[in-house]
Amino acid sequence: MNTKLSKIFWGLVFVLLVSGCWDYTDIEELSFPYIVAYDTNHMERDKNVEGARISVTMLFPEQATSGSSVYLNRTAGSTIGEVRNKRSFSSSKNAIFRGAQVTLIGEQLARREMNVDILLRQTAAKKSMLIAIVKGRGDDLLSKGIEKDKKLPNTIVDLLKLTSNETFIVNTTLYDFATVPATPGKNLVAPLIELNENKEIRIAGTAIFKKTRLIDTIDQNETRALVLLSGIKGRAYVDFKIYEKGKLIDRGTVNVSNKRKVEVYRKDDKYHFDITITLDGDLVEHFNIQNFDKMIPYIKKIEKAVEEQVKKECEDFIVQMQKEFKVDCIDISKYALAKWRSELEKEVDNEEFITNAVINVKVKAEIDDIGEMT
């Protein structure tokens, strides 16, 4: 009898104390933002919000009550925490950020320096959350974009996640925000997205940061050079032109994946970086069709044309980086740190380090497959 009573007692204790009792929440009481956009305060929209410095726009997927596929919630405040507090006055549901796939940061806010401490501190936000910079304002992109594309959330996620299979783009996650600011020699780069004139979302290029503050943006072509120089893995179509005696004899496209190797050494008080980019892939098209016998030497010509073109793009970008951006946005300083860490860790972030560096580029193209035609 005592054993039975004891079992009943412990059973009751368990029933009363199971932790779920405290952490139980009905799913109907929760809302899950899918994309969150952060912007500076808007002079017109936030004029009634005292001390507003930041505005947060959350895009929620389909809600049974709203009747539409998505809905937006925009709130302003002095900090993200205050925004969350103010949001609760207009929406009773508790926003759960564990499902958030993308964080968008408006260009103006990014230039002012975006503080993502709240995202890094809270345990619910996943470090693999994608981050992109919006040309213009994030809230405008969401509100105008949704008018044209009802599946806007998926479009944005797919664009940021899958485009690297088709072209060279940068990919930034919350993980980068957790590591880059504290790491000497590293600076953030993030995809730059915009709404085009047809209100369609597209990747416009790349945002260049000095640590976590946006300093400049580059277009799609410059992004290719940045990706190749940075060694960010991707696959893309690269066009080429072959000239003979100054005359264009062929043009076409190769589809290649990329690799990077960096060697660093010191000479004459300067840091020398030798970057070797290897492009490996297939010939997709060309117009000067050759006989089978001539194709083997002709492939070498195509490879050389690709190499020369990519080398020129990369060298132009290096000049731009050293003269305009004055930050290492191609992630090469880490190789110098790996050799002379104690000497360099305090000076590697000085702009003289990257502007005085001698950076050489070598490109190797290897075409494996030419398809069914010669």
């Binding site: 199971v18 564990r98 345990t123 619910a124 693999s128 957790a178 740190l337 790996a338 002379w340 860490r341």
Partner: protein, 363 residues
């Protein structure tokens, strides 16, 4: 000796591993790299030296008194009152240390999994199965440790899914060592091996003592391998600069990994860790209860009461720190004290054994 407290050398190995690998593993990569920098992995290797030294001393001392237990040895070497005082002080230290382990464990569970559940409830729920298992005796504790060890190996494979984010430059250069920083790192790393002092009690529970040294040194090799590989992994992925700002780099590492369906992989990891993280409390709780019952020469029924009382003390101790930062500070102090227990105690016991010529020949 009561059959319920007899363990095998192999089980002893799992008990030692279970006592060392606990929630401290989550913060270890930060703790060792904050001073040692890219050479955090080296600090972890060198940090094992004090524990290996302690093992050699404890086994050497134990060999001289194969048929006694630690309480009897203490009383024999230091006289009855002083031996009893030493035993009680040591047991108080172990109890204090385990209270902190439970509290940190509960805080992590609260932060990542059960944010609204009061910490006191989590502590209570964690202690319930621990106390129940200790009541069953050393044999059951040994078996549980063996079983959980295999779970540990499986679950520790998960962080390696983040290898795709690794960057070899984060751990270079291998030379260019900052000696002062490395030494600080070694000092910090040596706390990670706290738990080996349990051998003071468990050595005397083993049936075949010939193999004890082999298995216990084997346990250190396993612990060392796990620690080094995790520190290297976290350094490769985050770099030591970024890790300075992370409370628990190993958990953050798991949040970097993206696997479809598992939106929050760290919860999956921690769900397993709920069973694994309490092993030090389990093992040390056994050591404390067993030693107290030997000190007061009680029967098994009284042993059970001692375990229940220990549970209450652990609950109160774990509830004292005001927050996680305070608990971690206490844990740091416990780490300093651990060096005394790890090095000074075995030295004194060996010295006394030598002075009193308490060798095997005389017993």
């Amino acid at each position: 000796m009561d059959d319920r407290f007899v363990i095998t050398s192999k089980q002893l190995m799992f008990i030692i591993i279970g006592s060392q690998i606990a929630t401290g593993i989550f913060s270890l990569p930060r703790v060792v790299t904050v001073d040692a920098g890219v050479h955090g992995w080296l600090a972890v290797i060198l940090g094992a030296i004090p524990s290996i030294f302690a093992i050699l001393l404890i086994v050497n001392m134990g060999k001289k008194f194969p048929d006694k237990n630690i309480v009897e040895v203490s009383k024999y070497l230091f006289s009855r009152p002083i031996g009893s005082i030493i035993t009680i002080v040591t047991l108080l230290y172990i109890t204090f240390l385990q209270s902190i382990v439970i509290r940190i464990f509960a805080e992590i569970t609260s932060l990542y999994m059960l944010p609204k559940t009061p910490t006191s409830v989590i502590i209570f729920l964690v202690l319930l199965p621990v106390i129940y298992t200790i009541i069953q005796g050393g044999k059951v504790v040994g078996r549980i440790n063996e079983l959980l060890f295999y779970f540990l190996l499986l679950i520790l494979l998960l962080p390696f899914a983040a290898l795709g984010y690794s960057d070899i430059t984060n751990i270079l250069p291998l030379g260019d060592i900052d000696t002062a920083g490395l030494l600080k790192g070694v000092f910090s790393a040596s706390y990670a091996y706290a738990g080996v002092e349990l051998l003071f009690v468990t050595y005397f529970m083993v049936d075949n003592k010939e193999k004890v040294l082999k298995y216990v040194l084997g346990s250190q090799l396993i612990v060392l391998t796990i620690y080094v590989s995790l520190v290297v992994l976290c350094t490769l992925v985050f770099g030591h600069y970024a890790m300075k700002n992370m409370m628990w780099p190993l958990l953050t590492l798991i949040k970097v990994i993206e696997i479809p369906v598992f939106e929050r992989l760290e919860i999956f990891f921690l769900a397993f860790w709920l069973g694994l993280g309490v092993r030090p409390v389990l093992n040390n709780g056994l050591a404390v209860s067993y030693s107290l019952s030997k000190l007061f020469n009680t029967n098994f029924t009284t042993y059970k009461i001692i375990v229940l009382l220990l549970g209450i003390v652990l609950y109160i101790g774990a509830s004292i720190p005001n927050n996680i930062l305070e608990a971690m500070k206490w844990s740091e102090y416990a780490g300093y004290a651990n060096l005394v227990v790890l090095i000074v105690y075995p030295l004194i016991y060996n010295l006394m054994a030598f002075l009193r010529k308490g060798g095997r020949d005389e017993h």
